[in-house]
């Protein structure tokens, strides 16, 4: 049934009826699978991919590199859990390489984000250092192109 997951991953708005037709199974099988995945946490949610640049909403995002001291019992989990609870934080990843946590933060202005980093993140006990990289332009997000249209260059024979 990973075909079903792939279809949902490409477009979560397909109805169960459409999905059943596409996969050649019953609607009940589709809804049962989805219910099971939601219960088991395989599917964590459904949301639209929005290009906020094209709306009136002031929207800035930044990637913050965080170097932190892991706690004796909790490792990185404790600090990650603290950070993920801030509503400004969109994503938190534990990273390999030059730093420990990558945090995607959004706000209305560059200053919002800078202040959030200075006041909320840097001040946390385990945080050793931060480096803030603002997103200037979004070309592709969640597998979707944000820039221009895909043009069909095929001719007909």
């Amino acid at each position: 049934m990973d075909k079903l997951l792939k279809l949902l991953d490409s477009n979560a708005r397909l109805t169960n009826t459409q999905l059943a037709v596409m996969l050649g199974c019953s609607e009940k099988e589709v809804s049962d699978h989805i219910a099971e995945w939601e219960r088991d946490g395989v599917i964590r949610g459904f949301k639209a991919i929005i290009d906020w640049e094209r709306t009136d909403r002031a929207y800035v995002t930044a990637l913050i590199e965080l170097r932190v001291t892991p706690k004796r019992d909790l490792g990185f989990e404790g600090i990650a859990e603290t950070i993920m609870r801030f509503e400004e934080v969109e994503s938190v990843y534990l990273m390999s390489g030059g730093y420990d946590l990558a945090v995607i933060v959004s706000g209305q202005t560059f200053k919002d984000i800078a202040m959030f980093v200075a006041k909320r993140l840097s001040t946390l006990d385990s945080v050793l250092s931060t480096a803030t990289h603002f997103v200037l332009r979004r070309y592709k997000d969640s597998g979707v192109l944000f820039l221009g249209e895909e043009k069909d260059e095929r001719g007909v024979l």
């Binding site: 037709v21 050649g24 007909v156």
Partner: protein
């Protein structure tokens, strides 16, 4: 004063492709949603492209042997054995061509004497009849019907064979109908052929793209048929390599010896870069084909369901990437349906008549498009059909 070029009369009288003509109209309009294109919307898988690029970086820009790179011919032999259970000698029985189309042309020219009849199941792709005529042959269409799942039946075949019949074209999986011949159907056809000296040119360019439980079966794999069949396939459809222009033909050495002669004089060899890329496709491309096939299958199911829902009765295609619904419910001819759909809803599909007179009453819809694109087009076709159903 003015010089008049004297042209080949047969050529002059050939009609231009009906697909092309329709597409040209669509191209002049804005906002057209097309479902008319017969080539994959996928790009060639990266690892295959990379082998083409590598060959260029390494300066492999010369001619190859006329019959194609030895390693590619071996790759084709292995692939054909793996997928069709057929053994061909890469030295003497395999030719790499400039697309499947060249192979069809060479095959017909090698087999036909002036006045010979060539049996062509229809509806089918546009090239068989013109190429037959250019080779001096006489095209004899055999109509396949929706109620027979657009398969060639042994009765229709038997009825069409005359003492002048030289070649039977086997265009399956079929463009435009999506019809396929399963093993049991091929066995019946073979039974008829085995009593004649009719030779088969089997165009299996869509051979990898069949849906349902059983894989494509080549007529050459039926008992006694390999010696009387030229198997044609290529890289365009299965591996999304249309622009590389690469196909191949496999057949008995006495035929291939002649075919290679023609290829050598007309084409020299197939493009070198493409051949290097194709080696990779033969050796490591199976998973890509499977992935694309699975995607086509999803679209196929969706599109058939939508068409049936709006009353365009539709034989469920079992191969290739086309659906061939009847437009009878609208009371329009194929041509009218396509022209009005284009004008009123800006959706381009191809009239069935482009694939032979027997395509009247049908249109060809391609699903080489994203689901999003197909959904939008289906919504528009639905509105269009609603309007015509009411009046």
């Amino acid at each position: 004063m003015s010089y008049r070029i004297r042209l080949n009369k047969t050529l002059e009288q050939l009609k231009p492709s009906g697909i092309r003509r329709f597409f040209d109209i669509a191209c002049e309009m804005d906002d057209v949603i097309s479902l008319s294109i017969g080539e994959p919307d996928f790009s060639t898988p990266w690892h295959i492209r990379e082998e083409g690029i590598n060959s260029l970086e390494n300066g492999k820009t010369w001619y190859t042997p006329n019959a194609g790179l030895a390693k590619l011919r071996e790759g084709i032999a292995n692939y054909t054995e793996r997928h069709k259970g057929l053994c061909y000698d890469p030295q003497k029985e395999i030719l790499v061509t400039v697309g499947g189309s060249e192979a069809i042309d060479l095959g017909l020219r090698s087999l036909i004497e002036p006045g010979d009849e060539v049996l062509i199941p229809e509806p089918s792709f546009v090239c068989y009849s013109p190429l037959t005529e250019m080779a001096g042959g006489i095209p004899v269409p055999i109509v396949t019907k929706a109620e027979d799942a657009f398969r060639l039946t042994p009765d229709a075949l038997r009825a069409a064979i005359t003492p002048r019949t030289r070649v039977l074209i086997m265009p399956f999986p079929n463009n435009p109908t999506g019809g396929v011949m399963r093993r049991e159907h091929l066995e019946q056809i073979a039974k008829v052929l085995i009593e004649t000296d009719v030779f088969v040119v089997s165009d299996e360019i869509y051979g990898e793209l069949t849906y349902g439980d059983s894989a494509h079966v080549s007529i050459a794999s039926i008992d006694g048929m390999q010696e009387r069949t030229m198997l044609i396939s290529g890289f365009s459809k299965a591996f999304a390599m249309t622009g590389w222009r690469l196909g191949y033909a496999c057949g008995p050495s006495e035929l291939m010896e002649q075919v290679i002669k023609l290829h050598q004089y007309a084409l020299m060899c197939a493009p070198t870069t493409s051949q290097y890329a194709a080696i990779e496709a033969m050796e490591h491309g199976d998973a890509d084909v499977e992935e694309m096939r699975a995607e086509y299958d999803i679209r196929r199911r969706y599109i058939v369901d939508r068409l049936c829902g709006m009353g365009l009765t539709c034989f469920e295609p079992e191969g290739a990437f086309y659906v061939f619904p009847s437009v009878a419910i609208t009371g329009l001819t194929s041509e009218e349906f396509c022209q009005r759909l284009l004008k009123e809803k800006c959706v381009a599909v191809i009239p069935g008549t482009a694939f032979g007179d027997s395509g009247e009453g049908f249109v060809r819809i391609s699903y080489c498009y994203s689901l999003k694109h197909i959904t939008e087009a289906m919504d528009r076709i639905e509105q269009f059909v609603e309007n015509y159903k009411r009046t």
